[in-house]
Point group: C2
Amino acid sequence: MGRWEPGAEGRLRDAAMQLYIEHGFDQTTVADIAERAGVTGRTFFRYFADKREVLFAGAAELERRVIDALETAPRAVAPLDAVAIAIGAVGDMIGAHREFSRQRQAVIEATPELQERELIKLAALSVALADGLRRRGLSTTEAKLVAETGVAVFRAAFEQWLTASRDRGLARVIRESFARLRALAASSSGSVS
Amino acid sequence: MGRWEPGAEGRLRDAAMQLYIEHGFDQTTVADIAERAGVTGRTFFRYFADKREVLFAGAAELERRVIDALETAPRAVAPLDAVAIAIGAVGDMIGAHREFSRQRQAVIEATPELQERELIKLAALSVALADGLRRRGLSTTEAKLVAETGVAVFRAAFEQWLTASRDRGLARVIRESFARLRALAASSSGSVS
DNA sequence: CACTGCGATGTCATCTAGTGACATCGCATA
DNA sequence: TATGCGATGTCACTAGATGACATCGCAGTG
């Protein structure tokens, strides 16, 4: 390796997280993070595209797992159920770390900039899901509709899981949310002027 | 008014739009926009919080109308139908300007930064919808779920409307999308492992 | 063992977004 | 005529982001 302490990326990630929690995202400069990590500011941008990306580096891995789960689901499964299975994979990945998720979410919710980044990651997930659904034979428009709906359910479920007083299990909350959506759709008549 | 040409805001908006289309969002600097509008860079930031906001200034008005429509809907209407009505109000507002919408959307889709901003505006709309639904008696979690789902349907419908070869009418595409969601939910068994 | 390629980092310069503080002009109204 | 106020200009500055180039030292290679 190089001539310096190895693990610069990990140190940067830890330093950033700490500082974001301690002083807030806006009050933390890249120079601060770099200093605490023992590197130069320039090096920060070699590992992370921007200041926000530190908090979302895991999103790619998550998306991969979701799509894997979708590919694995039997073709006979109805579209919305297939998406439910795929989204359920998220539960297995982060469902075990509610405290960490809460802390991370607290930082994100305090900063519009970070919310934007989170939203676009979910949008990317939706696009990937729509792709997967099209490979299962859905039309483009239906695939998009189902994917967006699936992500919408995830959003609602994730928030519910995080804000509940006790940990009811993310995977379970996701399942229940999909069930509730079915019920709501069933009680909808479609009688729109 | 002041001692200069009136209508600075409008000139800035037009100049920005033109430049974003001509050279792209990234290649356009605030100084460029201000120069074309005949004002100083500093003045740009007096009208728009940041470079992106130019394209989203109308979002507040749109949100207002959606919420109005939701409030107006009869209380007896099922939640998902109420949201369908509310979202339908968007159709009446921008459904008549497909060409403008397409141009604007082309700019947005070419730039992740702008997509982020668009997403957070829709997220704000979702929050407002959830509020309105809670006022109609829904629980917090159900309100959130229905609101997110409604916005998801809008996303899919809007894209379908924009990309279709001919203008089928935004309001109509929205209605059809809600109907399709009901069908998809009905054909979903919920048999998730 | 000396040489060399290469990866990781530092250093420096620069651009641009965004913000605060204060000056300036001129219309409207007293 | 005097004055207050709204809209804009001017100036200075912080910080995020990026490009170009230098530097160090490990891993091989002959």
